[in-house]
Amino acid sequence: MSTDNAETGLNIKELLTEFPEMSRTELRDFKKGIDETFKGFTREYGEGIENFFDPLLAILVWFEKLVVATPWPLMIVILAALVYAGARSWPLVIGTVITLLIVGYLGMWEDMMFTLALISVATALCIIIGIPLGIIMSKSDRTQAVITPVLDIMQTIPSFVYLIPILMLLGIGKVPGLIAVCIYAIPPVVRLTNLGIRLVDKDVLEAADAFGASPRQKLFTVQLPLALPNIFAGVNQTIMMALAMVVVAALIGVQGLGSEVLKAVNNQYLALGLMNGLAIVAIAIVFDRVSQKFGKRLQKHSEVVHG
């Protein structure tokens, strides 16, 4: 009886320490199956998908060329004007101009322009897709329940993981880089559009209903304008996250400050890495300050005040 006991004890111990995993061959076939299926999919549709993104490539290339070809003094004037239009703050305009001059003087002007172009196009893309998605998400709890986990995954999955299928489908280049940036950067604008619309004062919505607003009128005259400060906070975060992705985008062939950082990492060039890294930080700070000031201006009248 005692030996019997010892034997079962041993079995249980084995069961607890060794995970009952799939057999090695099964596992290999399983992974291979997935890989083969996706490769098949790529062979079948890769070209079509690439063609589908051609317009995007054309826009990005056109915009890069435009930004790089614009004479630097004109570019500085344009950027200063944009900063003023957004923030209405002279200190910020002066700070921006000085930053641009320093970055240019240190030989990073062209790379900065490439990065600016990428960020601008990526942000525009995120807004164009993200806001409508956020609106749909706000319409019903069910769509929210479906979209939220997807956004969670997009934000938490290591970006290298989704680089693999993007690379398999589209290869190295600007478009896959842009898509990788967007996947990482789009969640905030979607989330905050949804949240902003859901937070709109119920009383004001009821008033719109009472005056006979159609769903469309309600969206454009009440919900979106009142959600705007939140939507804008989302856009701000999206820009920051896009900037955080420029080095990863450089991995799959996007030119700019990120690719210089990558070069520095590969060759252990401390100064080069530091300079380009700090240039990215400088752009981020400018974007952040301008968009925050702009967001504040949007908010000025939006609080409901009773009594």
Binding site: D201, A207, G212, S214, H306, G307
Partner: protein, 341 residues
């Protein structure tokens, strides 16, 4: 003039996932508390029948939670009834299609809210044009019409302000102007003046009465304040726990409260401002030099008699014929003595 009366018929509202299921139980006398405790549904309204007269002010009064807001929201169907009808110009609002309802709300009704519910991102003028904008009225016309009503409620010069730059009283004037600009037959006011200070509130009541004297809209006015109800209401319905417990003119309610609950309610009322001379006048005797028009309140009659030093006055009709008489003593008696019932 068109008949703009609103008829509420056999209206029941039970809040919850399956209100219809409990209609029979409620009809058979299940109380609000029982319904909530046993079935988790809330009885909002029970067997409401009110004829709201055309071009008059119908007041709906009751304490918090009695179902006033629920009631008024059935008229523009912000709330769907469980069963029942709301008839306006021969049509049951509760059966309208989505499109018809939208048109009805745009053109036939306008609403003023307790918490104002202005659009905070829009200026005063842009708030005021809101209804016309939804209707698709062209820019110039809606601007002109809105300016007219802003001026009528005393907001000249504030057009470009934002709501959060205005006091509560002024915000509610914007709310009123927004509703009036719609030029709808029905004006719905849910505790429109409850959030305002007493003086500003009196002011707004005066504005409403003044405008109503020329506009003749069918006004449905919600309040929990008896003085306000008596001052504004051509007709008053009193709600308790979702049921109408008395309806009639202010005078009828003050003179003949239907039960102890209402009697308690009206105890503190200034009766001189409610009871009319016609109610207590005796046969005409022509024995006085001063005259008081029919329909005057006792307070006014007493004041006129005291000022002229007479102890008696003649009541005259619109054509100037004497139809009765009143003494100072009887007037004061009626003002201080609770009516016997």
């Amino acid at each position: 003039m068109a008949d703009n009366s609103i008829e509420v018929k056999n209206l029941y509202k039970i809040f919850g996932t399956n209100g219809k299921k409990y209609i029979e139980a409620v009809k058979n006398g299940m109380s609000k508390d029982d319904l909530n405790a046993k079935h988790g549904h809330v009885l909002g309204l029970k067997n409401i029948n009110i004829n709201m007269p055309s071009a008059k002010i119908q007041v709906i009064m009751g304490l918090s939670g009695s179902g006033k807001s629920t009631m008024i929201r059935h008229i523009n169907r912000l709330i769907d009834p469980t069963i029942g009808e709301v008839i306006f110009q021969g049509e049951d609002i509760c059966k309208m299609s989505k499109g018809d309802l939208q048109e009805f709300r745009r053109h036939k009704t306008a609403m003023v809210f307790q918490k104002f519910a202005l659009l905070p991102h829009r200026t005063v003028i842009d708030n005021t044009i809101f209804g016309l904008e939804l209707q698709g009225v062209d820019k110039k016309e809606r601007h002109d019409r809105a300016m007219h009503w802003l001026s009528r409620v005393g907001l000249d010069g504030f057009e470009e302000n934002y709501p959060n730059q205005l006091s509560g009283g002024m915000q509610q004037r914007v709310g009123l102007a927004r509703a009036l600009t719609n030029d709808a037959d029905i004006l719905l006011m849910d505790e429109a003046f409850s959030a305002l200070d007493p003086l500003i509130r009196m002011d707004m009541q005066s504005i409403l009465l003044e405008l109503q004297a020329e506009l003749h809209k069918t006004v449905v006015f919600i309040t929990h304040d008896l003085d306000e109800a008596l001052r504004l209401g051509d007709q008053i319905a009193i709600l308790r726990d979702g049921e109408v417990i008395q309806q009639g003119t202010g005078q009828e309610i003050v003179l003949k409260p239907a039960d102890a609950y209402i009697a308690d309610f009206i105890k503190e009322v200034n009766r001189g401002r409610v009871i009319r001379v016609d109610t207590i006048m005796t046969a005409a005797n022509g024995g006085s030099s001063i005259t008081i028009p029919t329909g005057s309140r006792l307070e006014l009659a007493a004041k006129l008699m005291v000022e002229s030093g007479e102890a008696e006055a003649n009541i005259i009709d619109d054509a100037g014929n004497a139809i009765g008489a009143i003494t100072l003593k009887s007037a004061i008696d009626a003002m201080v003595t609770p009516a016997v019932h």
